[in-house]
Symmetry: C2
Subunit: 297 residues, 2 copies
């Protein structure tokens, strides 16, 4: 456990040099090395249970709603009647939980590389892993890059890439060949949403991702972002792209789930996402807008 404050977990990484967010640890609940990474779960003093992969916080019970709801509903609310959805990564099951809110969805495939993440989530994060209980879910443990390459052409309405940072096992998920295989697996006018780092920390990475996406996705290419307090710099971004075909206007959701009675009346109402915050997520600070617009237009 990388801790610089005794009794605290501190998130130190070359991805955000010179700063560290720390959470007070009540108890370490799990700590093991999988085939791919170090997996740790601890009970924090004020953020509930925390999942850490290779020293980097993936989710806390207190703020996971922001990330899971946004990475899922930004793409799914932007297209009418999504039916087939693929999740790459996202082994904790939180994205599945959110996809399952959409009653139009018939099939939810997920490919997670690390079975230990799935097991640990089911054991320690039942309110997140509840996504696996949905009968529409098909879990594949394996390499997302290979899965994507072998996916049948023109199949999915939406692909959600819920990856960790581009340093480590997720590296290839930020590269052009992977994006090309995503575009191939999507139906015309299908959409992808991929985790795309922080505008405060990683504008150079974001620039590259936008450039790659612009070359691969012939529909629209947009950057959105949201607040997640336990992610470095407090924000996380998403690339939202569509393939050639029926036009997708990501900034104006056509499939508003917050107006959907079944979603609102469920026992687990949305905590974070609504149509207003959807549209707002595409508004960028000037310093980021300048860079991103120069790559997308």
């Amino acid at each position: 456990m990388s801790s610089v404050i005794p009794g605290w977990f501190s998130e130190i990484s070359p991805m955000w040099p010179g700063e560290a967010h720390s959470l007070k640890v009540e108890k370490i609940l799990f700590q093991e090395k999988s085939d791919y990474q170090n997996v740790m779960v601890f009970q924090s003093a004020t953020y509930g249970k925390v999942l850490v992969l290779d020293g980097v916080i993936q989710l806390t019970e207190r703020d996971e709603c922001a990330y899971q709801e946004m990475i899922t509903h930004l793409p799914l609310c932007s297209i009418p009647n999504p039916k087939k959805v693929l999740v790459i990564g996202g082994g904790d099951g939180g994205v599945l939980r959110e996809v399952a809110r959409h009653s139009s969805v018939e099939q939810i495939d997920i490919c997670e590389i690390d079975g230990m993440v799935v097991d640990v989530s089911k054991k320690f994060f039942p309110d997140v892993a509840i996504g696996y209980d949905d009968p529409r879910v098909n879990l594949h443990i394996g390499d997302g890059v290979a899965f994507m390459k072998n996916a049948p052409e023109g199949t999915y309405d939406a692909v959600i890439v819920d990856s960790s940072d581009p340093i480590g096992p997720a590296q290839e998920l930020f590269e052009k060949p992977f994006f090309a295989s995503v575009a191939r697996a999507l139906r015309p006018g299908g959409v992808v949403c991929t985790q795309a780092e922080s505008i405060w920390l990683h504008m150079h990475i974001i620039e590259d991702i936008v450039t790659n996406c612009r070359q691969i996705f012939k529909g629209s290419v947009n950057y959105a972002w949201t607040t997640v307090p336990t992610y470095p710099s407090g924000v996380i971004g998403f690339m939202l792209c569509s393939t050639e075909g029926p036009a997708v206007d990501f900034k104006h959701p056509v499939n508003p789930i917050d107006a959907n009675e079944s979603a609102c009346k469920s026992s687990r109402p949305l905590k974070f996402y609504n149509s207003e915050i959807h549209a707002a997520a595409f508004c960028l600070p000037s310093f980021a807008k300048k860079v991103i617009d120069s790559k997308t237009t």
Copy 2:
């Protein structure tokens, strides 16, 4: 210096128990106790120079643009031709720098309680304290509560309350008598913008502020927020209220500074604020919207 990681500054406070953001320190440049608080400046490894009051980060050179631009232009871009502006707190001068972008402004009063903050800013943060160079600025060192109480009635177009947290010297700036004196000093249809904590950490404080404002300000009462990586939870909010008189629709800026040629062509272009991010700042996550809407309608 409260440091839990040797060589790092860690921000630990009962205002955000169980978590701490830390910055690597290159060199402590200033450390003294004023009549009101501990004042520290250090050179950080990756966020430039950092101003700390009573152990809480007030600004870093790397992200101060977000806070200063938003707390200033959210109110000033919401009314046509602001002429008289009062800043309470804000001794670093950053809000003055932003107010000065508005060519319609004729008079900028500022009342800061702690002269040491002004001096330290002028010495260590010239790009922030540059706000004091504007000839329209009148600096008063004194108690903002008393200054507000004695301000002539119906004078100001806008009051900006750039305070520290409600525990410490700024406490009274969050209470009803202060808001009443702000309302009295504003012209009909005048606006106030006050620092209003984090939706992730302080919903109970925000609830109280909204309730107080609703009782005092008979025009509109709105909550907005933005990202500031070095503030706890990575976000900070603002209460935006107007007095009875000409209606103010904060969500639709009538005085868009980013379209203003003189502001854009200046040697210091806006880094963060634009009209899109202005409107987006009023879109709240569902968990916050539910609480705030229940108090404002």
